[in-house]
Symmetry: C2
Subunit: 215 residues, 2 copies
DNA sequence: TGATGTGAAGAACTTCACAGCA
DNA sequence: TGCTGTGAAGTTCTTCACATCA
């Protein structure tokens, strides 16, 4: 239970949790690894392995008790506490993310936007998130107890911004800028590279996605 | 050279290409797998393996000729042709993506937005992308030769929208909605799940990102 | 009986180490 | 000599198969 848990397992835990939310809302009492597997097109053993990292969460012969597993997953994922998020970069993407309803749903709160442009600073996003000057990041981060930063700035300024964020003591970053960024080992950086995603699609189109599957 | 190439390899090819663009702009003649490896914090052998899937692209004792490798990668990734992209969902996120400069850079052209709301249809995004009625998807897709669709709609409508896109003959989808979506085997679906990404960060915060690295 | 938890087998991916060639 | 291309070894992740237990 104290071992390393892989990134892949972690990501799947999120998916399981989302499904458990639905099941609980629907009043379902228990769920088996088989049902979870069917839902996500995964192997049932993989789901049991994923969950077994965190103790014996299931009941033999029965499956997993929905309310219990849901609560446990929320705890494991750290969603049982307040998570204050900031978005750096009040451009189109930053604004869209600030108002993205999906974030709010699982308990994340977008508490601040940051930018450098004087005519943006002082304003608010549509949903009311205030825009601060990036120079105030450290102070605001402490005041608002921000633990996660979303970086949505142009590629050129990405590394500088990331450095600023790290200096402000924030240990978890979700980055939307392209390019290789460096962070200290105690900081967790997760990147969403939109260009890589599109190019991967282009590759599949170029190759032909319908070539015969492995023999 | 005709074998299966893994998703992971494909994604890295995009990164290599981006770096080669910089090198070519800087007038650099050749680059070794070692230099590429240092840049991306990868093993040099991995880079050689990635590239060797596509023939003998390098020169022993020298490395890779920048202009040649760049051109070859663009070809492999299917970027040597026009790639017309549509965005389904003219909400905050859809608009932000439509105007995202990173897409245009590598030759992707956002040619259309789609939505269902009558007061959005007929308008244009800031950068001038016209918004169509989703019911016209099939016609517009053919007219504009759209090969890639970006899905940025609320979770509830995602599967319906994906079905519509598939019916319109589009074989490559980049999806931003949460949840498990189904597509036929000849369609390539790539999903960016923002909630999963944030929850993965939350997990690392909860566990402590600075626990001792593997012994 | 039915579904979990898990050691062992298998598959996929990465790194090592070196032959081979400019 | 220097760097690629690649078989073999190593590592990580997934699936199989079954003992175990409610």
């Amino acid at each position: 239970m104290a071992e390393q848990v892989s990134e892949q397992t972690t990501n799947r835990l999120s998916l399981y949790l989302r499904f458990l939310n639905e099941l609980e809302a629907g009043g379902v009492r228990t769920v088996s690894s088989k049902v979870l597997a069917a839902r996500f097109d995964l192997n049932a053993a993989l789901i049991r392995k994923d969950l077994s990292h965190f103790g014996d969460l299931g009941v033999r012969g029965v499956g997993y008790v929905v309310v219990d597993l849901r609560q446990r997953l929320r705890q494991i994922l750290g969603l049982d506490r307040r998570l204050n998020v900031t978005i750096i970069g009040a451009g189109n993407l930053g604004f869209a993310l600030a108002d993205y309803p999906g974030f709010r749903k699982e308990g994340f709160r977008i508490v601040a936007l940051f930018d450098t442009l004087p005519d943006k600073v002082g304003r608010r996003s549509r949903s009311g998130v205030p825009i601060h000057d990036i120079r105030d990041l450290k102070r605001v981060a402490r005041q608002e107890q921000i633990t996660i930063a979303v970086v949505a700035v142009p590629a050129e300024s990405a590394q500088v911004v990331v450095n600023t964020v790290v200096e402000a003591g924030i240990k978890a970053l979700l980055n939307f800028s392209p390019g290789a960024l460096r962070v200290p080992p105690d900081v967790k950086l997760k990147s969403v590279d939109l260009t890589v995603s599109l190019e991967s699609l282009s590759f599949h189109l170029a190759r032909g996605v319908d070539r015969p599957p492995r023999p």
